[in-house]
Symmetry: D2
Subunit: 177 residues, 4 copies
């Protein structure tokens, strides 16, 4: 059976077509660093997902995913946040579309700090405070909150795949913790 990927605006891609597109075009992604903030807005903790990768290995990951045809970037942010953190996470998507950085994942390692063997993905990266209850969904096994100091530890950073440790450090630098 052909797996279909339904897009927000009615378009869809069969798995084979998506595979073909992935060999020809940069694919637009969003990356989200979910954070807890105190009453002044200072980041107090950072949430990382635990996922089973396609190779069976357990890895930490940011909230991340594709922007679909005819989908607003902020709708994609909310969809992936809900998919990974559950429907009660109460994310506060920032009012401005300006990302804190753009991460370019290349299929060839070493072009940038970011690597994705499946595709050339260009990802708009945002820090998003979440105020509600988070419960991992679907293929996410667990969500763990780390303090800024804890998340910077080499052992934690090493568990992030595809160069997302670099993106996490950029997010910490951006929020100044």
């Amino acid at each position: 059976m052909t797996e279909l990927t339904t897009a927000a605006g009615g378009g869809w891609l069969a798995r084979e077509e998506m595979d073909a597109a992935r060999e020809r075009l940069p694919i637009l992604y969003v990356d989200v660093v979910p954070v807890r903030v105190d009453e002044q807005g200072t980041v107090t903790s950072i949430g990382l997902l635990l996922r089973a990768g396609e190779d069976g290995q357990i890895k930490r990951a940011l909230v991340s995913g594709r922007v679909l045809y005819h989908e607003r970037v902020r709708a994609a942010l909310l969809r992936h946040l809900e998919k990974d953190l559950g429907p009660l996470a109460l994310p506060r998507v920032p009012p401005a579309p300006q990302p804190f950085t753009v991460a370019e994942y290349f299929p060839t390692p070493g072009v940038t700090p970011f690597h994705d063997p499946r595709q050339h993905a260009v990802s708009l990266a945002y820090v998003v405070p979440v105020e509600g209850d988070c419960s991992p969904q679907q293929d996410a096994l667990e969500l763990t909150w780390f303090s800024p100091d804890e998340v910077r530890e080499a052992t934690v950073l090493a568990e992030l795949a595809n160069g997302q440790s670099a993106l996490l450090l950029q997010a910490l630098a951006h929020v100044g913790v």
Copy 2:
């Protein structure tokens, strides 16, 4: 009697001293554009204060004020938001310290779009979603919410003093509405 301005960290300035400093140093300010957002984070309305100026004229204004000695910028944001919008406004101060722009108010008109006859003020400008109930406090007579289209009308912009209409338009451009 000498009016004292108490600073967060213990320092204070008599009115005369503050007046002297204002003739010699740029004074650090924050400007806040308070907004309402929908569940996707899109700005739906913008709040403007109505104030009686020192000359008795009624003017619209952004939430704005000085950063005190030994006060964090985000503490200053919260203090001025609470002073103008009341204690139940529930502002969501952004997690990153990066302002969307820096507004330079010069005592001489025409140097920049911003003008402050009292002083050279340099203001870090932020867009801050507020989720709670706002009630104008102290010298603010009223808080009015405008849609992005309404707030852009020439009659509304003309009611903002000191070039804050330019700052408001910059904020709208930044959030993309």
Copy 3:
């Protein structure tokens, strides 16, 4: 004959395949507002292209184009700048990948201020100072420099297609002129 679009990293798309992808995926673009700056970095003028559209109408436009498979965003910026402004323009692409905004062009008008009847394009927008000699290339008929005041005139803004007048105003707001 099939028109081929060669991509930087070896991939290519036949016109038919690109048309198919355009109906299924958001396409990654860059938009550039070329500017002249004075010795302090203040924007003194903004460059707009004059182009003959597919419908034969003459329109003003920003420097704009697709990011190719396996192409860095900054390489795409330089490629489109050279394509439109010529090889002697000496553009100063900013050191950080953070765009000043993200423009979402929808095939359906009215979803955002931006509209592209051909596709759903998501564009990273940058202001790029150019220091050299600009000469329009290929399908650009002319490059005209406007002062910030001139470029804001309703007659000029009306000549920009696809909502790029909104993007231009966002760029002016971002640079504070």
Copy 4:
């Protein structure tokens, strides 16, 4: 003799008055990370100054200094760049006033990563490409260019005072190298 600090707009402060202001008001600063970029705008090296501190110790430092009364922020950037790197450095001050971060130097250590025993300084931080010849001036003994990898080494970071190593890492994160 009283040391006078002449301000751009005519105001000046005797050393005693400046000392008094420093105990009462946050002082506005700019911090600049001078960089070399390649033709695509990617940062290839970062310049650090070698200075003799007031305590006689030799320290690395960013280009940094006060914004004067009636001085534009971009004029302050150029003045400090010229003061430290010489008149032939050809800095490219960015067209937008948005800093990549705001560094809050507190007289009390530990409030933020930044510390300044003399004062509460709030600093707008920018990355500025320099294209010309740099020669250290005045109290700067030397300017050394480091690759991104070199400048991240613990021994180099340890030579930066007042928490400027944190600011340098934030700048590297911002430019994505």
